[in-house]
Symmetry: C2
Subunit: 195 residues, 2 copies
């Protein structure tokens, strides 16, 4: 539990009693590499905190998986759309490594919001952070070239470059795998020239 | 004030005292058509509620304005990125019609959150809604063709189709203006055949 408690105390200042009420609703679950955490069509009823491992979400477009985003240690994730609207999810969540997740069930979270409003603040901050992450990603799509998107990914998520299979990175960046190989080759040539 | 009070009572259930504390922090401002509400480089220090009129935000990419989104009566908007991080905004907000806006200043909102936690809930719900709006928009970019993006815009925002100049709609949808004209012509031919 230590990781999630540190993560929330970084965002809000709950009392010991409030912290206990929070830990009471948290469930732990392990997922094997390649196991689905949520499947398209299911309703997403949890917020997930990644204690260990790596997950991705993806949507299927004309038979092809389009990777949405990656989340690793100490990240929070939920399919907020399905979670908030109670509609079947349009995406799937998959473990890319053996992963240990903590689950915050929706109904218990809503009771917690009412009993301990300090967690409304946590909910607000997490929603704001989710918005900022998506905004950066959307702006990169609209305003940046594929090469800029890749260099920015390497700069901001160096820990993911080695852990995530390359075709998922290409799909995440909206780049054809062969174009990503060309971009990587070009960058490595420039690096060689500079060293 | 009636519109904004209805809008918040639709989302949360504040007491009369809490409602008074809320109205105390709201400022009213009018903007002429084409006037900038926020200019790129300024820090966004308000949440805006559109009482009357129409606004858009845009970013500049290689000298060209790329329209981000439109907001009309009873919509909320802020550059959440600049608002939350205190960093200079990467976008500009412009009135597309003479507009009447209500402003919620950041500092007073934060004091309100502390004094009346019911407004934490409002902040959470608004951040969640902002996320959902952006998610829909981002998914449309990743998963839909230009023609699908346009027909979905017409279906979801029929009130904007007449009010927003066409080149802004094209820019918002990530379509060249001449392609949008072709798409509109094609749709109108199909409609003629069906009627």
């Amino acid at each position: 539990m230590q990781e999630i408690l540190h993560a929330i105390q970084h965002l809000i200042k709950p009392s010991n009693e409030e912290l206990r009420a929070f830990t009471d609703i948290v469930l732990a679950r392990s997922y094997k590499k390649k196991e689905l955490i949520l499947q398209e069509g299911q309703i997403c009823k949890n917020v997930y905190f990644i204690r260990k491992g790596l997950i991705r979400y993806y949507q299927v477009k004309e038979g092809t998986e389009v990777t949405g985003q990656f989340f690793s240690e100490n990240n929070w994730y939920t399919d907020l759309e399905s979670f908030l609207t109670h509609r079947p999810s349009r995406l799937s969540i998959e473990a890319l490594e053996n992963s240990e997740l903590l689950l915050l069930p929706k109904q218990q979270m809503e009771e917690l919001y009412v009993k301990h409003p300090v967690f409304e603040r946590l909910g607000r901050i997490l929603a704001e952070q989710a918005f900022l992450g998506l905004k950066n990603r959307h702006s990169a799509y609209i305003l940046r070239s594929p090469q800029e998107r890749y260099t920015s990914f390497v700069k901001n998520c160096p820990h993911l470059v080695q852990r995530v299979p390359q075709h998922y990175i290409a799909s995440y960046l909206g780049i054809q795998p062969q174009s990503l190989s060309r971009i990587r080759k070009r960058i490595s040539l420039v690096q060689d020239l500079l060293t």
